[in-house]
């Protein structure tokens, strides 16, 4: 599913390339690749703006684990990106979440579009765990995502839902809220 999603996106880009003149085609492919890269970077950056409860970690030096499902391409981008990085003194590990895999030890779960079939299951499984659920579509976000990537003017933005993390002990920094496109569940 992940591969298909990525491939689908790729193919869509390739299809556009076929229909459009060559220059436009290559730019489209480039833009899609950049989009994946930006989303990977955002996933990594979110770590700094969210507080996890201490119980979410095995120890003081336990790494952050970013789980990626539904898109291998993004997971492939993310893995080298975080390889030598750390946040709050903790190393970062990128992990592909295949279907049926356990979500134990995962701090951030990205649910790509290609995992649409498993989205509900993943959200349900992760809902009570101290996991920041990041979605890539309105549907998934509506089910229970905390942060949802949106494309605005060809730029990657995101919406935040405060309700998603009620009860799982996560606190999203107000600074992150400041750059969110929309915030759902905020006090009126």
């Amino acid at each position: 599913m992940n591969r298909r999603g990525v491939v689908g996106t790729f193919w869509r880009a390739a299809f556009i390339c076929i229909l459009w003149p060559a220059a436009v085609c290559s730019a489209e492919i480039e833009r899609v690749a950049q989009e994946e890269q930006v989303k990977a970077a955002y996933l990594y950056k979110f770590l700094g703006f969210v507080d996890w409860p201490a119980s979410a970690f095995d120890g003081a030096q336990s790494p952050f684990v970013i789980g990626v499902s539904g898109t291998d391409a993004l997971a492939d981008e993310l893995a080298p990106m975080v390889a030598n990085r750390s946040t709050n003194g903790r190393p970062i590990v990128a992990r592909k979440i295949s279907a049926g895999a356990s979500l134990a030890g995962v701090h951030v779960l990205f649910i790509g579009r290609q995992a649409a079939a498993r989205t509900a299951a993943l959200i349900t499984a992760a809902r009570d765990l101290p996991i920041l659920i990041v979605t890539d579509s309105e549907e998934a976000f509506a089910i229970g995502g905390a942060i949802n990537f949106v494309l605005v003017d060809n730029k990657v933005r995101f919406d935040v839902s405060l309700r998603a993390n009620e009860g799982n002990g996560l606190k999203i920094s107000s600074r992150l809220l400041g750059v969110a496109r929309r915030i759902q569940g905020a006090a009126p």
């Binding site: 955002y42 730029k155 933005r157 600074r175 400041g178 750059v179």
Partner: protein, 674 residues
């Protein structure tokens, strides 16, 4: 090295010091304050801006991280509340301009790329670049550009400082002007006192002490000094007064000396003028003497001529009469005899006059002054001259007898009048008149004047009239005369204490006058006078016991004359010797009563002979009378000094000789009685 002398008053200096001090203090204080303030401003502003940039970085870090330039722009817009911030910008991690903010009126462009971190001041603006990190990663750079008002502040501060300085200086000036009096008034008071002391020389002035500070001490010192100076001044004044007194004394003394000098000069001048006068008189006398000498020589030559002229007539006619063998008729003989007599008479007169003059000149003339009745003398003269006047047809008018008498020698007065009258007859015109007048003049004089009607005299003739040895009327040739009659006359009148003069003009005749002193006692009558002047009664001649007279004389003629004189006396016997040697022997042998001694004798002189005689006891008592031609007064004095009894000059005056002989015998008799 002398300290530099500054001008200006003490007040100005004090004010200047205050002002300068104030200025320096203010400048330093203001400078320090301004420097401090500017430094604080600079640091606070730089820190402020740096902090602002930091804050911006933090607030926009998320926006940068999530590439949200809109949010970033919103964050930057907060800077509107800081108008000093002119512009701000955010660059992303790649250096691309991410978000900007610009103050409303700013048009400055943004830098193309972020520069190195830090704060820079550029063209009165502060530029800040601050990198923005998020989670340890560089996410971008904040750029801030703000006003940097340091220079404006400097300007403002400078303005304030100037104003403050001005105000402070004015206040300081006014204050110091008031306060400096505290310091300067006592000092100026001393200065005033000192100046007045110098100007008025009043050392009693004292400065007023106004304070107890150093100036007070100065006042005390000044007053002490003034007291000392006053004491010295008083001493000096005393000394000066002393000096002035000495000077005035010296001046007085000097004036006295000068006055004496002037007197001395005056006296010297007087003496000098006296000397000059006497020199002039001497020169005049010398000239007169020389003139007289010349006149005497001329007189001698003319006298020789005058004496020869009548002698020529006498000898000539005498020869004619004595020619043997020639018988002259009686009338002729009578005529010749008349000529001889006339010439003889003339010669006699001439000789008499010369003798008179000689006697007068040698001061040998003896006068016996006595009251003389003028009328008597005139009468005698008239009887004597009447024939001569009648011979020339002249009328002689005599004054009436007034009984006037004068003090005179009768004989000499007669001689004088005869001379004047005979001149009046001689120099009168034919049938003229001779007028004689006699009248008292002034209070005690008698004037007798003789006026003729002759040709008169010219002024130059009048001037020479009474000069000795000047012959008058010589040029006329027609009148005989020795030319010395008037001279003798004048001398005689003067000897009798009278005056003689002449009033004349050419063509109007001459008036000769004499003035003699009037005799107060009545004169004796002519008869009495005649008795008194009668000669000494003659001794009987040939008397054997008659006194003996010795005459020592080498000249036979003189010997003969004296023999005749002695014979005429009749009371003396006489011996004679031709030289002194024989005379001395005769004197020793005969013991004469009196000796007559010539001085210029051959061999032994009369003076030596006299000395020999006086050395001999046998002859020392005999009076010796010098009879000599040495007639000068000096000769007389020598004779008297040599011991001669008397000095009788030749030509021998018979009367004088007789008188000398009588005196000698009287003395001899007197001495022999002892």
């Amino acid at each position: 090295m002398m300290p530099r002398r500054s001008s200006g008053s003490l007040q100005a200096k004090l004010v200047g010091v205050v002002l300068l001090t104030t200025l320096v203090a203010l400048v330093v204080a203001l400078g320090a304050m301004i420097a401090y303030d500017l430094r604080a401003y600079h640091r606070s502003w730089v820190n402020d801006m740096a902090a602002q940039a930091q804050l911006l970085g933090q607030t926009t870090a998320t926006a940068l991280a999530f590439d949200d330039s809109k949010v970033a722009t919103n964050h930057l817009a907060v800077l509107q509340s800081r108008p000093q911030v002119r512009a701000a910008a955010l660059y992303d991690a790649r250096g691309k301009l991410f978000a900007t903010y610009t103050a409303a009126d700013d048009r400055t462009a943004f830098p193309a790329a972020p520069e190195a971190e830090g704060v820079r001041i550029q063209q009165r603006e502060l530029l800040v670049f601050t990198p923005v990190f998020e989670n340890g990663e560089l996410v971008g750079t904040v750029y801030l550009r703000a006003d940097y008002e340091l220079y404006d502040r400097i300007l403002s501060y400078a303005l304030i400082a100037v104003v403050v300085l001005a105000v402070a200086m004015v206040v300081a000036y006014l204050t110091s002007m008031r306060l400096q009096r505290l310091v300067t008034r006592p000092i100026l008071s001393i200065a005033n006192v000192a100046r007045e002391v110098v100007q008025q020389r009043d050392y009693s002035r004292r400065a007023e002490k106004m304070s107890d500070d150093e100036v007070g001490a100065l006042v005390e010192s000044f007053n002490d000094m003034m007291a000392e100076t006053e004491r010295r001044a008083l001493e000096n004044e005393a000394a000066l007064a002393e000096v002035a007194r000495e000077v005035s004394e010296r001046r007085v003394a000097q004036q006295e000396v000068m006055r004496l000098n002037e007197q001395l000069e005056l006296r010297v001048h007087d003496r000098t003028s006296q000397l000059e006068a006497s020199n002039r008189e001497l020169a005049q006398a010398t000239e007169t003497a020389e003139k007289a000498n010349r006149a005497k020589s001329e007189f001698l030559s003319s006298m020789s001529h005058e004496l020869r002229t009548p002698l020529n007539a006498i000898l000539g006619f005498g020869q004619l009469l004595s020619v043997d063998g020639v018988t002259l008729p009686p009338t002729k003989r009578a005529e010749f005899t008349q000529h001889i007599l006339k010439a003889g008479t003339h010669l006699l007169n001439l000789i008499n006059e010369i003798l008179d003059l000689a006697k007068i000149e040698s001061a040998n003339l003896m006068l016996s002054l006595e009251p003389v009745v003028v009328a008597d003398v005139l009468e005698e003269c008239r009887s004597m001259l009447e024939p001569a006047a009648r011979q020339r047809g002249l009328h002689m008018l005599f004054p009436p007898a007034l009984g006037l008498s004068v003090v005179a020698d009768r004989t000499r007065l007669k001689q004088v009048l005869l001379n004047l009258l005979s001149n009046a007859i001689k120099y009168n015109r034919e049938n003229g008149v001779v007028i004689v007048e006699c009248a008292p003049v002034s209070h005690d004089g008698v004037r007798v004047s003789v006026r003729d009607t002759g040709a008169g005299l010219r002024p130059e003739q009048v001037a020479a009239l009474f000069q000795p040895f000047n012959r008058l009327g010589q040029e006329a040739g027609m009148v005989e005369g020795s030319g010395i009659g008037l001279v003798v006359t004048k001398r005689l009148v003067e000897l009798m204490g009278g005056r003689i003069g002449v009033v004349t003009a050419p063509g109007s005749g001459c008036e000769f006058w004499i003035e003699l002193k009037q005799a107060l006692a009545p004169a004796a009558s002519a008869a009495n006078n005649a008795e008194r002047t009668a000669p000494v009664p003659l001794a009987s001649p040939g008397l054997k016991k008659a006194p003996l007279l010795l005459y020592v004389e080498d000249n036979p003629a003189n010997l003969r004359l004296v023999e005749e004189i002695v014979a005429f006396r009749g009371d003396l016997r006489m011996l004679s010797a031709p030289d002194a040697q024989l005379g001395i022997e005769l004197a020793r042998a005969h013991r004469p009563q009196v000796i007559l001694m010539d001085i210029n004798l051959p061999g032994l002189s009369g003076t030596d002979a006299r000395a020999i005689l006086s050395a001999d006891p046998a002859t020392e008592q005999i009076p010796v009378i010098a009879v000599t031609a040495n007639a000068m007064p000096r000769d007389r004095a020598q004779s008297m000094a040599a011991g001669f009894f008397q000095h009788v000059t030749k030509p021998i005056n018979v009367a004088m000789l007789n008188a000398a002989i009588d005196a000698a015998m009287t003395q001899r008799d007197a001495s022999s009685l002892h």
